[in-house]
Amino acid sequence: MLLKIKNLDCRRGNKLIIANVSFNLKSGECLILKGPNGSGKTTLLRYIAGLSTNNLLNDNIAYSGHLDGVKSTLTVQENLKFWSGIYNTNNMTNVIKTLKLNDFQNRIAGELSAGQKRRLGLARMLITNAKIWLMDEPTVSLDKTTTTLISEIITQHCKEGGAAIISTHVNLNLPSSKVLDISEFKPEIDKEFDPFLEGIF
């Protein structure tokens, strides 16, 4: 079992967005989060990534949010080299090849299109060598070909023993994936809470 979530309550600000979320994620599995806008998909991913809690739920996690985390004044290669240094990995050349970034690896990231930037942002996930990928709308700004490429990369990651939790409105055609409808976890009563009393600071 790579990840076990049990009765997780997620808040945005002081409002309870989803309550009692429970699921297990095994090696090789892919969990697709579905639900309308504002249902709490991003909030859940941020909780699992450890951004909204004081402790990481799992330290073998890589998170990719709405923003690409790309520095526009650095080249594609410099951006990836930076993340390689942070995660102490040496698979940058393979990642460039896998995500087909070869043609513009020496270009300044600010000159890339939105789709190319997204691809560069997703390259970080491969650099991390993390087992669990948390991806929030990974296919935004991507064309059909690149969306297929991303699906293939996620499939390969799961085949190699990894797992992924993906929030998406696009059908990624991922094998061995299960769907979690977030709207099922909407709390019946919107409980307010005091962040100071909850010890959030």
Partner: protein, 216 residues
């Protein structure tokens, strides 16, 4: 952590990175003082330590909102927060990079600028030493302020209001160590070093708490 320091230095040196801007601002602030107070060499010599320290402090302040804000806006801070480096380590790396691209150049540039202000000949060593050991405190305090205001849009003014009062002890001790009539500047330098060491030891943890609260 070295990757983060090297990346921040590289970003500061690139166009729009703020390195040249900070240094140019320091140069201009010091250069306009003689135009304001006149060509009285005795007066310039007396006020030189204070002016040089105030110039260093304001130049430092100019680049503080860049420490976390740009990373926050493009999603890098979120990605870094989920990386194996703890938030206190990220804050230390950021403050170190800020000192290397702001405090260190200001310290080196202060020597020729001291000459412009007719700084006492015996004070050059003290100027260099006090800035070299005092500017790390400015960078670490500034990083703390930047961590507190990271989620605030156009938080530059708020950051200045928060940080400037915290700079006062370093400013007073730094300027006083060079003033004519100071009997034992070594004691003052030791106090500046103590402030810097305290900031380096404690503030990264405070930064981590502030960043964690803002990321929520």
């Amino acid at each position: 952590m070295w990757s983060l320091i090297l990346r921040d230095i590289r970003l500061a040196l690139r166009s729009g990175g703020g390195f040249v801007l900070t240094l140019a601002f320091f140069l201009i602030v010091i250069m306009i003082v003689p135009f304001g107070v006149g060509a009285d060499l005795g007066l310039l010599s007396r006020i030189a330590p204070g002016i040089l320290w105030i110039g260093a402090l304001l130049s430092c302040l100019l680049s503080l909102d860049r420490i976390f804000q740009l990373d926050w806006e493009d999603g890098t801070l979120e990605a870094l927060a989920t990386s194996p480096i703890p938030l206190s380590g990220i804050a230390t790396a950021k403050a170190t990079a800020h000192w290397l691209t702001t405090g260190l150049p200001i310290t080196l540039a202060s020597l020729p600028l001291g000459y412009l202000l007719n700084l006492n000949h015996n004070s050059y060593f003290l100027l260099l030493t006090s800035l070299a050991i005092g500017t790390p405190a400015l960078s670490f305090i500034g990083t703390f302020g930047a961590a507190l205001t990271v989620g605030v849009k156009r938080g530059g003014l708020l950051l200045s209001l928060l940080i400037l009062p915290l700079y006062i002890p370093t400013l007073m001790l730094g300027a006083q160590s060079m003033s004519v009539g100071t009997n034992n500047p070594i004691e003052l330098l030791a106090l500046i070093a103590a402030i810097s060491f305290m900031c380096i030891a404690l503030l990264p943890f405070a930064c981590a708490i502030a960043l964690r609260a803002n990321l929520k």
